[in-house]
Symmetry: C2
Subunit: 542 residues, 2 copies
């Protein structure tokens, strides 16, 4: 027997329908690519998104078409998203930080038919557009006055293009399982893999993200999504924000400390989200200038593990609550958030930081488990680590075109490629990437633990632990160290320092000193290059 | 093109799976029907609900069977709900306050096959069970020691019955559109009508209810659902509470001021929800005893319009935030909540109360409009009232068996039968029930406005406005008044008092004094009886 409740498909345009109806006058403030700070409202967003949808249809685009965006966080980018989704086409956010060849590969794989592009990225697009066979149209996110000379074929200025329709349009209707958005994730090996979000997953994710124990978003918040829309949907803020009618502040292309501070201060931002490096820049700016954060209530920090120093500064020096979070492009992206359960709510000082250093627990709508290589669930004891697997309505069940099938098991669990443990309180902590973990005699050693420990040594600037071939154990840990300027730590000194703080068999078999450790574009240690570098390294224990 | 996100149907048992996994040790405290206060946990709830499911299957119950509950709010009632839903059967909450013949009618209409019943209601059930042909099994929510002698056929004590299985069971799987629950709404006219909730609607409603701008529920809350589970799902708290892992406090059968206070105080309740009459009793108890509410943070008040005096006392005297809310059985039940948008957040005193007296605005997931009789949308000006219509994933699209089809239109809007206006800020205010509104020369007059105004007169205890036949205008308002003890207000005095405070043509044509005004079981004025009483009344203006 079926329930007798209404068919009310979870479609993304309903998010902005609600924003327009209930929060029409609320502002969206953007630092425009042209320079000035520009103010629109949810009523504008709704009206203009409808025009984008109508105009796209007039250009012949339709249900299922992939339409790329190569753009910063601005109101125009959000309008483009909702306009694209409103006809059942699929927004495809391109990460401009990738190599041009990767972008070409991705656009060809997705068969993007059009692209909305910011002025910043025209030179990049001019270089690659010719190689994207499917591309028919380029919409430059600016007005006529700012439209540059360009060799791009079929390029139009957004405002002019939009001006050609009247907005008398109704959203197209389709099933809630229809694809809404797309984002490629580029691992360190292999080709990028495409994640395809549905309308349903986007709407459910928006609801999950806004919950009190997740981000806790209200219409009384002013939200600054620093994390780019091309970085896993700006962690859902482009959906959650309109859903609850919060004022949005969009940072455009300026993410330096002074620019972010200017927006936080002038727009009285109460909530923001970004990766640790952005916050590092802001905190440095605050220290240099002596400025404070009287309006900011909380920040979500994720994308990579949040250093304790950032938490301490935000919380103790500026009175801003930190929510450490973990997620992935494949998860829309929220996986866990480190808000405090009642048992922890009273903790202070180091004890509180110990909890907050973990990546947190999943909200309703995300299930997680940690297994060994044979898919046996591991105990929730805060030490036994294994492969972190997740399940939920906003988690991918496949990649576009079927790549990476080995990451999805029959019961629908997605293997995140992260290695983690979960404690008795349900809090998860990432200890490694699966491909970085060191397997010694079949047992796993967490490289992140070794690195965190090693950087506690006063003379160590940076450390990376990698597995090196060993005839008896298969692999044993080598610690690669960059010394602080003017310091000369020794192998014995570092090992002495670490001794007793990790299991004996975890202790590195050797320490190698280098001038520099290679990093990825987003600041993560490039373990793959490092392992390459030390491929023929002979451990003294072998 | 479809999205590539996981199939993760919105099934109710996932709410308690999550509670068990992430909040297993959190308590559910019940005032038991046997007397003592009993403590269980979400881990217990999960384990015992699985046993209910397993035991029901062993008794031969299965997908689609209707299984009634005639019970107060306790942990056992919640276990029964999840156990029933876990095999795809349908919990059917019966309102014990209805007349026995109505309960019989409802049980026969739903064809209930079993009933979970509290000790309190055994005498009632004994009287009616024989008339319910479909009934096969009676499970008395108690243990062997407390099991009474009963004439009920196939009656077993819950704990004994549950003890016969081991809980080694897996939830059954089915589509998220599957019926999960059922509740009949008894209008003042006609037969009761059955609303059938689905798993999807229950889960979405739980998410909608917990949002920061709705009830704003967190794992750090301790929730006391005073509103009965048989009154529109305890406003969703039996689903939202487990979903977010809040401690639950279940009041059993005692709703008087002292009993509610005892739980609020001893269990440090932070959040509660009930109809105005319950709060009136609590506030009176507090005044008599001089007690305070140091833990309680906010209360949701709905079911009927919340008097200003209740809001003032809670907010000014006890520091408890009031959220006025409106809903219906047909809406799962949340429709609107009066939380404050940023423009209103700073209001104080009377200005704040003016907003809070409205029923509020709908969260994402509920759409509303106000139309005239020809279905034309009315302006959002805070004065033009009309029929209130709603739409959403947790709103009924039909009644069980097809009754009341005229309330559902082709576009899926449900006519609530309430009359309301919406202001420019999006806040809705109920002005009447559609069947109570007075139609004078084709224009509508709000009886609630007239009544609220009249009771402001110092000598008036209660007032009801009804339409009385008028040869020229069709209908004109008659004000029926109960004087305060020892007072003798006059017609002229009352009309003078009202004059200038409503439109001239709204002014009652006459005032009739009575000793008593008839009320329904839930304390609402029984307008239908009153109209009957004054059917042949001749207005002096006619
Ligand atoms: N806050 C409120 N103010 C006025 N009437 C209300 C309110 N909440 C509920 N109601 C009335 O109660 C009806 C629903 O009754 P029920 O289905 O029994 O919950 C609504 O249609 C309204 O007429």
């Amino acid at each position: 027997m079926l329930g007798l409740m209404q068919e009310w498909p979870l479609l993304c345009h309903k998010l902005i329908d609600n924003a327009e109806r209930q929060h029409g006058a609320r502002e969206i403030v953007s630092r425009s690519i042209e320079g000035p700070i520009v103010r629109t409202t949810y009523a504008d967003l709704h009206r203009r998104s409808l025009k984008v949808a109508q105009r796209l249809e007039r250009d012949g685009f339709a249900l299922g078409d992939r339409i790329a965006t190569l753009a910063w966080n601005t109101a125009r980018h959000i309008e483009a998203w909702y306009g694209i989704m409103g006809i059942g086409a699929i927004y495809h956010t391109l990460n401009p930080r990738l190599f041009p060849e990767q972008i070409v590969w991705i656009m060809n794989h997705a068969e993007d038919k059009a692209v909305f592009v910011d002025l910043t990225f025209i030179p990049l697009l001019e270089k690659i557009a010719g190689a994207v066979k499917s591309l028919k149209k380029v919409i430059v996110l600016t007005d006529k006055a700012h439209m540059p000379q360009t060799t791009l074929p079929n390029a139009v200025a957004y405002e002019e293009w939009l001006g050609e329709v009247d907005g008398d349009f109704a959203w197209r209707s389709f099933d809630e399982g229809t694809a809404a958005g797309m984002c490629y994730t580029s691992g360190t090996t292999g080709d990028p893999k495409g994640v395809v979000y549905s309308h349903r997953s986007n709407v459910l994710h928006a609801m999950i993200a806004a919950m009190p124990d997740a981000m806790g978003l209200s219409s009384r918040d002013t939200i600054l999504p620093v994390v780019p829309m091309f970085h896993a949907n700006a962690w859902g803020l482009g959906q959650s924000g309109p859903m609850i009618g919060a004022k949005l502040v969009m940072p455009g292309c300026k993410m330096d400390g002074a620019s972010i501070y200017e927006l936080l201060d002038q727009e009285k931002v109460t909530f923001s989200a970004a990766v640790p490096t952005v916050w590092m820049m802001l905190l440095q700016y605050l220290e240099e200038t002596g400025k404070t954060l009287p309006h900011l209530g909380k920040v979500v920090i994720g994308g990579s593990s949040c250093p304790r120093a950032i938490m301490t500064k935000f919380q103790d020096d500026y009175g801003v609550q930190v929510i450490h979070a973990w997620g992935m492009t494949e998860m829309s992206p929220l996986g866990t958030l480190c808000t405090l359960k009642p048992d922890y709510a009273g903790l202070e000082g180091e004890a509180r930081l110990d909890v907050q250093s973990k990546q947190g627990y999943p909200p309703f709508g995300v299930e997680m488990k940690v297994t060994d290589d044979e898919n046996n669930p591991q105990p929730w004891d805060g030490k036994t680590f294994g492969r972190l697997k997740v399940r939920g309505p906003a988690v991918a069940r496949a990649y576009y075109g079927g790549a990476g099938a080995e990451q999805f098991d029959v019961d629908g669990w997605f293997d995140t490629g992260d290695v983690a443990h979960i404690d008795a309180g349900g809090y998860m902590q990432i200890t490694d990437r699966a491909k970085d973990v060191i397997k010694s005699g079949g047992e796993w050693i967490s490289t992140i633990d070794l690195e965190n420990l090693a950087v506690g040594h006063p003379d160590v600037a940076e450390a990376a632990a990698i597995g090196v071939k060993h005839s008896k154990w298969g692999e044993r840990p080598l610690l690669v160290v960059v010394a602080k300027p003017g310091k000369e730590p020794t192998k014995a000194g570092i090992l002495d320092f670490m001794d007793g703080k990790v299991a004996k068999w975890w202790m590195p078999d050797d320490v190698a000193f280098v001038g520099e450790i290679p990093h990825t574009a987003t600041g993560k240690i490039q373990k793959i290059t490092l392992r390459q570098q030390f491929r023929d390294y002979r451990l003294p224990t072998d």
